[in-house]
Amino acid sequence: MTKRLNLFAFICITILLAGCWNHRELTDIGIIAAVGIDYGQDKRYNMTFQFVNPKNIAGNQQTSGLSGPAITIYESEGDNLLEAARAASQHVSRQLYFAHTDVLMIGEEVARDGLTDILDIPIRNPDFRSTATIVIAKDSTAEQILKTLTPLDQIPANTIDKTLQFSESRWGEDIHLTVGELVPTIYSKSKQAVVSGFVLKGDKEKGKQDANIQSSRPLAPLNADGIGIFKGDKLITWAEGKTARGINWILNNIQSTVMAVDWKDKKDAFGITINLSKSKVSANVKNNKPHITVHIDAEGGITEADTFLDLSKAEELIKVQNALRKEIKKEIENSIQFAQKHKADVFGFGEKISHVDEDYWKKVEDVWNEEIFPNLEVKVEVNAFIRRTYLISKPFLYEHKGND
């Protein structure tokens, strides 16, 4: 009798322990690679979901006869994001699965009105990962960008994510930011948020079609472009090109980049690869007046020389090095001025001040961005070194050509 009872209990527990209560079959879930958020027409939000289409991802070229694009786009509207996401059930045949979402794309219009309404759901929902990259669809809607097919990486979400990663670490004018990293800066008074933008260039209609990935030159390429400057939760302006890189210098986001240095009359005569860069911001408060010092350490080598200068001599190299230091300093100072003009402390100077003198910070935190930061004295120290000139010492080609 006990044996039978034990067997019965055994079977019951096996059923429970398999954990099938919460099961979601692979064939019943739609894996979402990217989510886009815009304003809707009938309801407040329009969400765009970029579903991965597992059948059409390369690897099984044999079946390419029936292949379509690697992604499928669905859209749905709702007055809040949860409603919009669930409303998608009406036309998507699978359960929406957010655990593999890599990109959260936000339309510029929405970003200008504030991100607070949008950021609650990603951090509250256990499915959604805070490691997803956040991007703003510059001058367009998230929908337009997510619909674009991309050739090298078949899933556009991967394209966006990887482009930002590499352009941040190898070029320095963009910023690869996760939702988790963004959240603390959204409500902070001492540090304003910065988020990268993405633009769609070329023929926007063709971008949605297979033609975009079948022509050798993408008809509508996706471009990482500029850094969006936030004030509180609202996007206020864009920092582009060198200004954006200046911000990245201070935020210590640059791992490697290239600098161009003018020499005599020739513009951008030297191309210098920076391989190591480190920034340190220190603050102090004297007589109720805050001071900030930005210190940059950088190291690199000359990778291109388009003018004649005897680089085999150390003292000549030092001259180029000094020019490089000036160039970096100018870039950083420009971006500080830019941020000061827009009254948004994106560098977190306020944070540093609050760490050294909390009483002072308590007094000024409400007026920091408006009154104190725009007139803040910032000292920039650049300690850059040119360590080598790679395979050629003297640019001998120009020796014969002469400088022109």
């Binding site: 919460n22 256990p126 490691t131 994510d161 988790g180 909390e358």
Partner: protein
């Protein structure tokens, strides 16, 4: 009381797992903001003090459970009432921890599963373990201790490698708001988890070299305090203060941030694992203590008979003590410490110690008197 013996090592790992238990996963003492690590450390020192009070009483009445020696200290009637209240207290705390654990799993992983099912599975497991006795629980602890540390160390390495730690977030260090830090220590961290060591007073008699108890306990509390403190510091460093304060499960958020080369990520299982092991030992030890105290108080022959009814009581209590998670947590933070923890964890033991001390001094005096006379 069961006929069982625990080795020093088993006792040590049981304390460690019990202390880290759910405290590792819930946001413990987060009101102290970036100084949470310190308030936990301070809490553990106070916890050691509490532990010594209990241990001191035990040295007067070796090899006896509190439910029996409280009768000797304050008389049969009052002692029995005390013992009875302690049973209720342990059962209630056991139900609270079960609820904590269930709510956590439902919020994080099993979003469609009813709370009842999650709790029921845990209680079935605990009923089984308690029925098998304390030695089995202790051996389970030995195995799980190794697993837990393996996971903890791997997790720590992964967090360090992914470069998530921003030491800036821990600044300013202990610069001000001492008031808040002390309030957190006095109202939270000293009692949960460190004051909960009161449960181990029922396990002292099982210790094979009971002389080691004082040192073992203090060391285990300190070590668990250090562990929890490091965890809190890492959570703050990764999440920044505002997020740390507002997230329900800081450790989970921290683990979700791990991403190494877009490949090693989504390691939530680390968190679930820690939560499972920790919660199991916390629940099972409270459960066992409640059962064994009842057995002792009512002079039952065997503790096994009352395990099932206790399982049902704990399971239904865990469902009914609160109607939603917020109510549950607020009760735990606002009501329980001043009304239950302070009297049960420190108030009653101190009174018992004072009376026991006076009684024993008298006895010793009498003894020496008779010795002299003799």
């Amino acid at each position: 009381m069961e006929n069982a013996k625990l080795s020093s090592y088993q006792f040590f790992v049981m304390i460690l797992l019990f202390e880290m238990g759910t405290s590792l996963v819930i946001s413990l003492g987060s009101d102290a903001k970036q100084n949470t690590w310190f308030s936990i450390l301070l809490g553990s020192l106070i916890g050691i003090l509490f532990y010594h009070v209990n241990y001191k009483i035990y040295t007067y009445y070796p090899n006896e459970l509190p439910s029996s020696y409280s009768k000797k200290i304050v008389g049969k009637f009052l002692g029995s009432i005390l013992g009875y209240f302690y049973i209720i207290y342990f059962t209630y705390i056991c139900a609270r921890v079960t609820r904590d654990f269930g709510e956590l799993l439902v919020a994080v992983a099993y979003t469609q599963t009813p709370l009842f099912i999650v709790n029921a599975i845990m209680i079935i497991l605990c009923v089984f373990a308690v029925k098998k006795g304390i030695e089995v629980i202790a051996r389970t602890a030995e195995i799980n201790f190794a697993l837990m540390y393996l996971f903890a160390i791997t997790g720590l390495i992964l967090i360090l490698v992914s470069g998530l730690i921003e030491l800036e977030n821990l600044k300013p260090v202990l610069r001000n708001n001492w008031g808040t830090i002390l309030r957190v220590v006095i109202l939270e961290t000293a009692f949960v988890p460190f004051g909960e060591m009161i449960a181990f007073t029922y396990l002292f008699p099982y210790l094979n070299y009971s002389k080691n108890g004082r040192f073992l306990g203090s060391f285990a509390i300190l070590l668990s305090g250090i562990n929890l403190s490091i965890t809190a510091a890492i959570n703050v460093a990764v999440l920044s203060v505002p997020l740390f304060e507002n997230t329900q499960f800081p450790l989970l958020s921290t683990i979700q941030y791990i991403s190494i080369g877009n490949f090693i990520e989504r390691l939530d299982i680390f968190f679930i694992f820690a939560a499972f092991i920790g919660a199991f030992f916390k629940i099972v030890i409270f459960f066992y203590v409640a059962v064994i105290a009842t057995t002792d108080l009512f002079h039952l022959k065997d503790h096994k008979k009352i395990v099932y009814p206790f399982g049902l009581i704990v399971l239904f209590l865990s469902q009914t003590i609160a109607s939603n998670y917020q109510e549950h947590i607020n009760e735990g933070l606002k009501f329980v410490p001043p009304h239950l923890h302070i009297p049960f964890q420190i108030g009653i033991p101190v009174i018992l110690l004072v009376i026991a001390f006076l009684k024993n001094r008298k006895k010793e005096k009498n003894m020496s008197k008779t010795m002299k006379e003799g």
